[in-house]
Every structure is written in structure tokens, then in C-alpha cells.
């Protein structure tokens, strides 16, 4: 989903930068507030950022015969809400733009918008929706991470199709072209990301019950009876 350096026309690059800025500013505020009010959460924040670091570095073969990488933003969005992920995702993208020539500074706004804003929000929305309907925790986590991953690549396709409409068929034609490169390739990777996010969440449930309860991922004891019985909660 990294749009390469210089590959968006200036007007588009600026527009996406302007669109992304308020989300990142809001994210920095939430992040500083979280660290000030709950210094103990710094470690878990670091772990969420680290998860994005690992997953976005792994280029994995897909069924379309090309390689792509997961985003790792669903986990942090579920744990700390999407604004904080806007910051952690931006840090990851900046690292890759500066050191790996992967993505770029002129396309940072667009890449932040897809991976650090839309992905986390879409994934978080699906996670919350499923939890509201008493879906087991780990199922909600899986689909949250799956959607965060896939929606990121759909946004990238839209961004590129807006910048480079097909000479004949216009925006829809270009969207189909970029969509077939990104979105289809991404489906099995989004499944992988969902599974890996479930794995990390399972480890967190075992190791950091107090933290997850404070963050509202696990319910407090006593309210458990009326709560959805997820597989892990049932075992706990």
C-alpha cells in the first residue's frame, strides 16, 4: 500500500496531507494523555507499535502471484482506539520512507491516510459492531484486524485511481486496475493478519488481564455473567 515517493501529483499529495494532519494531531493528543494518565500502559503501547513494525516489514507471497505485506494496525486500534494508531502508524511509515525508500515523504499523507487512519477506524468499527452483537472476543478481533488490513489497500487503490484515471474508462477503470493489484492480493494476507492478531491477543489475555480489563477489551469480573462468553474468557 506504499505509494512510492513522487508518484502522486503535487495537488493530490498536498490534499491527502491536509486530510491526514488533523487525525495525527488528535492522535498525538490522545497518546500524550494516555501516557500521562496511565504510565503503566507505555509498555503495551510500545508492543502495539512493535506489532505494526514487524507486520509491515513482512512481504508475504499471495495467491495472485505477487507479494504484499500486512499492516498490523488492527491490534493497536482495538486496544487503544484508532487515534493512537494514527501516530504509531505514521512513525512506521516515516521509518520506511526515510530508511527503506519505501513509500515517501511526498506521499506520506496519502499513505498515513490509508494505513494509519482509515484502516484502524474501519477495523475498530467492525470490532465494536461485532462485540455489540455478543460475538466472541477472538472472532471480533479477527474480523477487526482483517478489515483494518484490507480497507487500507482499498483506500490505496482509490487514491491511485483518483490520481490516474484510465484514459478510456476513467476512474472506475483505473480503480479496477489498482484494485486487482492491491485488494485481491491482500485478501489472504488480511486473513494472516487476522490470525496473527488473534494470536497476540490470546497471549495478552494470558499475560496482561488487568491491562485489557482497564482498556475495556475484557470485561470486569462480576459483569462476566452477562457478558459474551468468548473461548478465552470461558477458560479464564
Amino acid at each position: 500500500m506504499h505509494i512510492a515517493e513522487g508518484f502522486l501529483p503535487p495537488a493530490h499529495a498536498i490534499a491527502w496531507g491536509v486530510a491526514a494532519t488533523p487525525f495525527v494531531v488528535q492522535g498525538v493528543r490522545s497518546l500524550t494523555r494516555e501516557v500521562r494518565e496511565h504510565p503503566e500502559s507505555t509498555l503495551l503501547l510500545g508492543a502495539s507499535g512493535a506489532f505494526t513494525f514487524v507486520l509491515s516489514a513482512l512481504k508475504i507471497p499471495s495467491v495472485t502471484g505477487s507479494c504484499s505485506h500486512p499492516t498490523g494496525t488492527g491490534l493497536g486500534a482495538i486496544l487503544f482506539r484508532p487515534p493512537i494508531m494514527a501516530v504509531l502508524g505514521t512513525i512506521t511509515l516515516l521509518f520506511q520512507a526515510l530508511l527503506l525508500a519505501h513509500g515517501g515523504l511526498t506521499t506520506l499523507g496519502a499513505n498515513v491516510f490509508s494505513m494509519a487512519i482509515v484502516g484502524p477506524w474501519a477495523g475498530y468499527a467492525v470490532y465494536r459492531l461485532l462485540k455489540r452483537y455478543d460475538v466472541p472476543l477472538m472472532v471480533a478481533v479477527f474480523f477487526g484486524a482483517f478489515v483494518a488490513d484490507l480497507s487500507t489497500y482499498c483506500v490505496t487503490s482509490v487514491q491511485l485511481a483518483l490520481a490516474f484515471p484510465d484514459p478510456g474508462s476513467g476512474f472506475p477503470g483505473a480503480l479496477a486496475k489498482f484494485g486487482s493489484i492491491f485488494a485481491v492480493t491482500q485478501i489472504p494476507l488480511a486473513v494472516s493478519e487476522g490470525l496473527l492478531t488473534v494470536l497476540v491477543m490470546r497471549l495478552l489475555v494470558q499475560s496482561s488481564k488487568g491491562e485489557l480489563t482497564r482498556l475495556g477489551v475484557l470485561l470486569q469480573r462480576g459483569r462476566q455473567a452477562s457478558a459474551p462468553r468468548s473461548e478465552t474468557e470461558a477458560k479464564a
Binding site: E5, P10, A50, T52, L55, K59, L105, P188, S192, K235
Partner: protein, 114 residues
């Protein structure tokens, strides 16, 4: 192996299978260059849609070769994996410490069953 560990191992196996199957089944064979990055393919697609387009900015730093680039990607993954491992190691250690402290409170000092 506990049930928990089995489920975790199964999750890892599934992810590995999803990555290996496209390679094993030769799903890239129809391509001239199999398993290139989707990001690079998007650049090619842009060149097809708008042959006149020239990137107007180039990266400040570019890894001099594919090897250096993959090394830097490995560094990125290693940093992330290191932080994650530190987190879970610390949590596990703390939990063990707490359990031990609780056990020491229950059994009078000197008669610690260890």
C-alpha cells in the same frame, strides 16, 4: 502441550501455510517475474495509465542494492519482534514473581516448598 499452546501453534501453522501455499502451488508461474511486490506493480500500472507521468520527487536516501534493502527490512522486523518479546518476557517474569511472593506469604518462611 496445553490446549492453549496447541491453539497458538495451530494459528502459527495456518499463517505459515497461507504464505507457503502460493509458492508451493506455483501461483506465480504465469508471470514473467513471479512474486514481485504489489507496490512496484502499481508503479508499472501508473506508467501504463499515464505514460507522460514523471515522479517529481525522489527518495532522500535509497538503499544501494536489493541486499541492503532486505537487510533494512530485517532490521525493522527485528526491532519490532525484539520489543514484543521484551514485553511478553517482562509480563511473564512479573507474573511468576507475583505467584512466588503469594506462595511465600501462605507458607511460613523457612518452610518454603521449593
Amino acid at each position: 502441550m496445553s490446549r492453549n499452546a496447541k491453539i497458538n501453534a495451530l494459528l502459527i501453522l495456518l499463517v505459515a501455510a497461507l504464505a507457503v501455499l502460493p509458492l508451493a502451488l506455483g501461483l506465480g508461474d504465469h508471470k514473467k517475474e513471479p512474486f514481485t511486490g504489489a507496490d512496484a506493480q502499481a508503479e508499472t500500472a501508473i506508467a501504463e495509465l499515464d505514460p507522460e507521468y514523471e515522479p517529481w520527487f525522489s527518495p532522500l536516501y535509497e538503499p544501494p542494492s536489493g541486499e541492503v534493502e532486505s537487510a533494512l527490512f530485517a532490521v525493522q522486523a527485528a526491532i519490532g519482534a525484539g520489543v514484543l518479546a521484551y514485553y511478553f518476557g517482562l509480563r511473564r517474569g512479573r507474573r511468576q514473581g507475583e505467584t512466588r511472593a503469594r506462595a511465600a506469604e501462605v507458607t511460613p518462611a523457612g518452610r518454603d516448598e521449593e
